[in-house]
């Protein structure tokens, strides 16, 4: 379904961040992309979504194909129309829209307005807690509710491929479980392909069938997840329990900074 072929991405014309990334998501598959902070995972997703331009980034080399057609020169709205939707990291809700509007805006590219209404109701079935808050401004939701909201917002566009950037970041284990259970249902029922970026390697390797591991803008290891979990390096660097908590908080700090920069 998605084929990323040897892409190179440069920020601000000088910083080479992706140094030839290739990966593939077969039809309806669940694929994980893992790696340390700054490895270039988010950049990979942004390259696929076509939003590098707006962040001073540029795809210097390589191709991205979706359902057999090249998409790497398309504007982001065309890419969404083709069926790729991204859930950005850090629960980026529209704070000044209410819950209902946040979901509806995800259906921007759809023309079947009446069906959208019905689908909005259906997404509430996944997370009933949102239905009770549908008139509340998104800024007043808890972090977990915001994460549910951004997933619903992506689902309403009826993607063929959904890309999620660290959906478990900063959530309680129980909620992480609930969200991944929901994603599993979406994948099973609607055959939506999923490309998952995660810091939480344990969850990701458990959830996905196939995994890629990135370091410094390169894929250093890939394979079926049941083999990856047995790999010695993976065990040591990604499933090691001791340093994980530190990494998490570091990621948050860094993310906050980056957000600031893009807003200005």
């Amino acid at each position: 379904m998605l084929k990323v072929n040897n892409i190179e991405v440069v920020y601000n014309d000088v910083i080479l961040v992706l140094k030839g990334i290739s990966l593939e998501v077969p039809d309806g598959a669940v694929v994980a992309l893992l790696g340390a902070n700054g490895a270039g995972k988010t950049t990979t997703l942004k390259a696929i979504s076509g939003i590098l331009d707006s962040q001073n980034g540029e795809l210097e080399d390589g191709q991205i194909e979706f359902m057999g057609n090249p998409i790497h020169r398309l504007d982001p709205d065309r890419i969404v129309k083709k069926g790729i939707t991204m859930v950005p990291e850090g629960r980026r809700v529209f704070e000044n829209l209410n819950v209902m509007e946040n979901i509806k805006i995800g259906a921007h590219t759809r023309t079947d307005r009446r069906q959208v209404k019905r689908d909005v109701e259906k997404t509430f079935d996944y997370f009933p807690v949102l239905e009770g808050r549908k008139d509340r401004l998104a800024i007043f939701l808890s972090g977990g509710e915001q994460q549910m909201l951004v997933i619903c917002r992506a689902l309403i566009s009826k993607p063929k491929l959904m890309m999620l950037d660290e959906p478990s970041l900063g959530l309680a284990p129980l909620l992480v479980k609930e969200i991944f259970a929901m994603l599993r249902v979406v994948n099973d029922k609607q055959k939506t392909g999923i490309l998952l970026v995660e810091q939480n390697a344990r969850v990701a390797l458990n959830f996905a069938k196939y995994g890629y591991i990135m370091e410094n803008g390169k894929i250093v290891l890939d394979g079926p997840t049941d083999l990856l979990v047995k790999n010695k390096d993976v065990k040591e660097f990604y499933l090691g329990v001791t340093d994980k908590m530190e990494k998490k908080s570091y990621a948050q700090v860094k993310h906050y900074k980056r957000r600031k920069r893009w807003l200005s």
Binding site: S49, I51, S54, Q55, N56, D75, P76, D77, I79, V80, K81, T85, M86, P88, R92, F94, E95, N96, L97, E101, K104, I105, G106, H108, T109, R113, R153, S157, K260, W262, L263, S264
Partner: protein, 298 residues
């Protein structure tokens, strides 16, 4: 009823009419400011140009007033799209400050163009509204004021419905919140910006047409846009309801100050009042009535 009280009501009512004009001008600014972070300093010139365009449509081309208003709106909308396309879009990604400088350049360009095209004379708009005032229980309102208030109310309702219920309205609000996330929703941010400039210029055209009915038309008309700044700041810079409330409040306060203080001090109070309010707001509550406490953009 006692005359003191009637005098007060009279001042408030004409204050509302004046406030509608401020509100309309302020909304034009705030639309662009909120969506793109740009303060468009050419807004006043668009108001002035619209007044001229409407004037010449009615006088030289003998177009019926309402059709002339509609045409002026369309022309202004197109000007908005062209401005975004030719001037702002190439500046995408440049610092906000440079873009604001460009709008200042645009304002100078438009004013010179207006001078060349329309001349430097004072023109008087053949107002379609009857001159006799309407008396309602002791207060006197001119028909022009009534029309200004009614049309502003309709415009506000149209805005509300558009932003609350339409797909593009929602996309615009989302874009104002987070441009980068809006892109991920499949929203064409370019299209949204073009539309914002168009809507803002149409709002400016509406205020231009109203002003043409209450003031003489000349190149100096563009300066009235500055009169809306206090309303914008009072409303909280990036809030459309704020701009409306701010505009009405300033209109009423200005009229009251003029009505009561001018007699004592002997004139001139009316014109400075809005800026005294501006000054006070900046000192006491710089984020205005509806603004966010921290201002992220500079």
């Amino acid at each position: 009823m006692n005359t003191e009280f009637m005098f007060f009501i009279q001042l408030v009512v004409s204050g509302i009419a004046l406030g509608c004009l401020y509100a309309l001008i302020a909304v034009g600014f705030v639309l662009i400011l909120k969506a793109t972070g740009i303060m468009n300093f050419a807004q006043g010139e668009v108001i002035m140009l619209s007044a001229f365009i409407c004037y010449f449509l009615v006088t030289t081309f003998h177009v019926p007033f309402l059709v002339a208003v509609l045409l002026t709106g369309i022309i202004a909308g197109l000007m908005g799209i062209v401005t975004e396309r030719l001037i702002l879009r190439p500046m995408l990604g440049e610092p906000i400050f440079s873009v604001v400088m460009v709008t200042i350049g645009l304002s100078i360009f438009l004013r010179s163009m207006a001078g060349i095209l329309f001349g430097h004379n004072n023109l008087v708009f053949p107002s379609p509204f009857p001159t006799e005032a309407v008396k309602m229980g002791g207060i006197v309102v001119s028909q022009t004021e009534i029309w200004i208030m009614l049309s502003s109310l309709v415009l506000a309702a149209v805005f509300f419905i558009f932003f609350k219920y339409s797909r593009m309205g929602l996309a615009m609000r989302g874009t104002a919140d987070h441009q980068d996330v809006a892109l991920l929703m499949g929203i064409s941010v370019k299209q949204v910006f073009a539309l914002i400039w168009a809507v803002s210029f149409i709002t400016a055209a509406a205020s231009g047409v109203f002003l043409a009915n209450v003031m003489v038309i000349n190149l100096g008309l563009s300066v009235v846009a500055i009169g809306a700044f206090p309303a914008i700041v009072l409303g909280g810079l990036e809030s459309i309801p704020g701009a409306i409330v701010g505009g009405l409040a300033i209109g009423i306060i200005e009229n009251l100050a003029g009505g009561y203080l001018d007699q004592i001090i002997g004139g001139g109070v009316k014109d400075v009042t809005p800026f005294v309010v501006l000054f006070l707001v900046l000192m006491i509550r710089p984020y205005g009535l509806f603004g966010k406490k921290e201002i992220e953009r500079v």
